[in-house]
Structures are given as C-alpha cells and as structure tokens.
C-alpha cells in the first residue's frame, strides 16, 4: 500500500520560494498567477494491508517527523 504525503508551509507563514516562483512565472509571460506555494511530496510504500490503520500510521509519521507543526501543514493521500 502506498501513501503520498504533501507538506506545505502554513498559510500564515511567508513562503519566499513560492513568491520567487510566482515572479519567475510572471516574467515568462504567464499572467494571472495570483499566488504560488511551494511544498514537498513524500511517497511511502507500506507493508500494511489495512488502509485505515495505514493512514493512521502515516499521520503519526507526519506528526513526529515528516512535517514541523510550527510552520507546516500536511495532507495524506492513500494511493494504490
């Protein structure tokens, strides 16, 4: 079973990398880009067979290591 974790900076936290990407897109002529937030994707391959239990474990992984709750939010997506 596979899990895909998306980690992004919280809305309240300034994302200077996202802003730089936004400016670069504008300079390439892509109009109307209102906001860009950069984050990371972490794919985890699990031996688990119970989907619910696996998701629970991945959330625990996020809380303990994969995301820093002071500055980041995360979403967990169970795939495959």
């Amino acid at each position: 079973m596979k899990a895909r974790v998306h980690v992004t900076l919280k809305r309240a936290v300034l994302d200077p990398q996202g802003q730089a990407i936004g400016r670069a897109l504008a300079s390439l002529g892509f109009d109307g880009v209102r906001d860009v937030r950069q984050g990371k994707v972490i794919e985890i391959d699990l031996a688990d067979t119970d989907r619910e239990a696996a998701e629970e474990r991945v959330r625990a992984m996020c809380d303990r290591l994969l995301a820093n709750p002071v500055i980041e939010d995360y979403t967990v997506e169970m795939v495959g």
Binding site: P16, Q17, L65, N68, V70
Partner: protein, 234 residues
C-alpha cells in the same frame, strides 16, 4: 568547566567551538557521536553548526531524532546548560527544547558575513559575560535562519525576557524598513538572532560566537560568551 560537543554526520563547526572552549578553559571538550546513548559528565553541552544529515527533510529534523539528542534533552531537563549554534539552534527547535522554527532566509540566499547583534538579556549563564544593550560583531553563515513563531510565543519570548540576541544596526538600533534588509540578514521575526528557554539553561542562536574569539583573526566579541560560561560553571 567540562564541555561535551555533539557531532552528527554533516556537522562542520565542531572543531571551531572546541577550539574556542579550549582557548578559555585550557581543556579540550569531549566529542560525542550522534549514535551514542550516553553523555559524559559535562557542565555544558554544545550542539554545533554545520549541515547535520545534509539538511535532509528540514534543517535539523533528522538530528533532532538521533539517539544522542534524547540524552541531550534529558540533560537539559536536569538543568545542564545546552548551547545550540546555527544548525544546533535548528536542531534544538526541531526537538522541542526551544520554541519556534527557522525558515529559509527571506531573500533565499545563503548568507556568510559579519553582523551586529544587540545583547537583549544578560541574565543567563550564556550571556552573563555581556551587559544588556551591548552591541557585538560576530559572523553568520546559514541558509535557514529566518526565525518564526506564532504570536503567542513571540509575546511570551518578549514578556519573559527570553530573547537573548537581536540583529541590529551598528549603533544598536533595531533595523526597520529599508535598513532591515541591511541589518536583519535573514528576515527573522522581531530581528531575533538567539533565544533562551524558560529555565534559561538552553540557548540557541544562529550567529557563530565561536568564530570571534581569537585576536589573531581580528574579532573577539564572541569570547565573552565562553568566558561568562566559565565564570558561571567553573
């Protein structure tokens, strides 16, 4: 004063802080490896600068969960002074010994230069070698030094006098507006360069006082931190 310096794969300033400590104590600190599950008897524990674990995931995140950090946390809980410099500061926030977090520098660049700091509080073993209001000149070298914390934490840091150092203009004034870019090198909230925990036995700071201790290298403002520690800890 017996000091222990924690070494992770990717640390690179451990030698500098060991030299600085040896200069003021006459005694070489003990180096402790990240896999060690016991700390030697020490009056001071230093988590040095560098790029532990290559800054994988987030700066300091992997080191924060290493076996030796469990021991460092336990020692801090017993009241042993713990000093985290640069990556060491990042590790101390990641492992929960200090509040807040260190984001990518606001201007996205790695910064390696001298900065001015104002000593905000001299009431700790780390800062007693200074007088509150002193302006010191020390280097920074980091990519992720942009301190942030929620409003409640910021209010508590200010209210309880837990801000140890702020970036400032050469005259000690807090840098604001256009000046902020010149004097607050990474965009830190409240120009924060270093903070203490509530008990004041843990200090984390981004600048490198250990690189300003020897007159042969032109700068000595960092030396008083180590002299103050010796005065406090024997």
């Amino acid at each position: 004063m017996k000091a222990a310096v924690v070494l992770f794969p990717g640390s690179n300033r451990e030698g500098d802080v060991e030299d600085a400590l040896e200069l003021v104590t006459g005694r070489r600190p003990v180096t402790v490896w990240h896999r060690d599950t016991e700390l030697p008897q020490a009056d001071l524990i230093v988590v040095p600068g560098g790029f532990s674990y290559g800054d994988y995931l987030r700066a300091g995140a992997m080191a924060a969960h290493s076996p030796v950090m469990r021991e460092v946390k336990a020692a801090a809980d017993r009241g042993v002074p713990v000093l985290g410099i640069c990556n060491g500061f990042q590790i101390l926030t990641e492992c929960g010994l200090l509040p807040g977090a260190l984001l990518r520098n606001a201007h996205l660049k790695f910064i390696c230069r001298f900065v001015h700091l104002r000593v905000e509080n001299s009431d700790s073993v780390f800062t007693r070698g200074y007088v509150a209001g002193d302006v010191i000149h020390v280097p920074v070298a980091h990519h992720d030094g942009n301190y942030t914390a929620d409003a409640e934490t910021m209010a508590r840091l200010r209210g309880e006098g837990l801000i140890a150092f702020r970036y400032c203009a050469p005259d000690g004034e807090e840098a604001v507006g256009a000046e902020a870019v010149a004097h607050n090198p990474n965009g830190s909230s409240g120009s924060i360069a270093g903070i203490l925990n509530e008990r004041r036995n843990v200090l984390g700071l981004m600048p490198h006082p250990e690189n300003a201790v020897d007159p042969k290298l032109g700068h000595t403002d960092g030396r008083r931190m180590f002299e103050g520690l010796v005065a406090a800890l024997g």
